[in-house]
Symmetry: C2
Subunit: 188 residues, 2 copies
DNA sequence: GGTGCTATTTGCCATATGACAAATGAAATG
DNA sequence: CATTTCATTTGTCATATGGCAAATAGCACC
């Protein structure tokens, strides 16, 4: 659990008693590659800290294509933020892209931490804000780049991941077809 | 100032005394079309609430192209969030796209509100989170759409704006060249 | 009204990417 | 080992978009 605690401490102070409480509220969960952590149509009731592995958030657009909205890396919280916050059924999936080991908080546990630990809300807000800004900063330049550049940038940002995940995940994240991505790979 | 107060009250409770304090800390500012609210290279020291008008956040990419990252509409806070939060010199500009009337808070005033009004931090965090999620939700689908679809979506999301702003702002937001946008317009 | 200056449109051509289908490869199952 | 199923690559062709340059339009200023 030390990864989680270290991560939290980057964003605010916690005393030993608070740290112990947080540890007691977290349950380990192994999520196999391909399985879902939360699903469209349901109201998400859990938050996860990713110890190892990678998740992705995806959805189906109006044409029926599956779109990978973003990947979530190790040492981050994974949550379907659109619907967790608003308590509405989700339109997105959160799925394990590789085998993952998570620390899971139930919504009740998480809420209890809000009520018990003064600094908790501030820490979580900082983490949330930082994660959203990062996603925005990754996504924004992609619109102005061609497909090869987007792929090369992905290789830098997620080293080692490209060859471990289905082509379709990556292609839909980059906004290109599988065939195009396959060709781009060949020519690089 | 009522627009500002109404907006804040959507996200939390404030008593009359707090509302008066907030009003005293806000200064009106008229920003003419084209002028900058904050600039790359500087550390932003102000936050603005947009009463009327539209701003945009833009930057120059490695190729030297000017990229419009997103537009900020009326009834929202405008801030260079990347560098305001982290207190580092910005790499982005915040610019008036139309004539704007703003309510401006200095960093000191804003910090004072954090220290004086218990609910302030929660309200601002909710506003920030919501704004970031919205931007992400707008941007993400664009990668999978062709240029015409992106333009049509823009017309829906920002009715009346397309014809009032330079072609270059819009083209760089949509991730296409000015020529292409011009042609798309003709064909629709 | 004439003169610049900038923004936008248009033309021409090259090329990246999409659509679709077929071929190949890889992995699971009996 | 054969069979099935799914993922990836490849081929062919159509088309959207970019790059570049020229033409036009719009606008400020004298």
């Amino acid at each position: 659990m030390e990864k989680l605690i270290d991560f939290l401490l980057e964003f605010g102070h916690l005393n030993q008693q608070q740290i112990d409480l947080i540890k007691r509220k977290a349950s380990p969960l192994v999520l196999e590659k391909g399985t879902y952590f939360s699903e469209a149509g349901k109201i998400p009731k859990r938050v996860a800290f990713i110890q190892t592995g990678i998740l992705r958030v995806c959805y189906y657009n109006s044409k029926g294509d599956e779109i990978t909205k973003y990947f979530i890396e190790e040492n981050n919280f994974a949550v379907d933020i659109n619907s967790y916050t608003q308590k509405i059924p989700s339109s997105e999936y959160v799925q394990a892209v590789t085998d993952c080991t998570l620390l899971v908080f139930s919504k009740e546990s998480f809420d209890e931490l809000f009520n018990t630990i003064i600094a908790w809300e501030g820490i979580i807000n900082k983490i949330t804000e930082k994660a959203l800004i990062e996603k925005l900063n990754k996504l924004s330049p992609m619109l102005a780049e061609d497909a090869s550049t987007r792929y090369l940038t992905f290789l830098e940002k997620f080293p080692g991941l490209a060859n471990r995940i289905p082509l379709s995940y990556l292609a839909s994240y980059l906004g290109i077809t599988q065939s195009s991505l396959s060709r781009i790979r060949r020519n690089i």
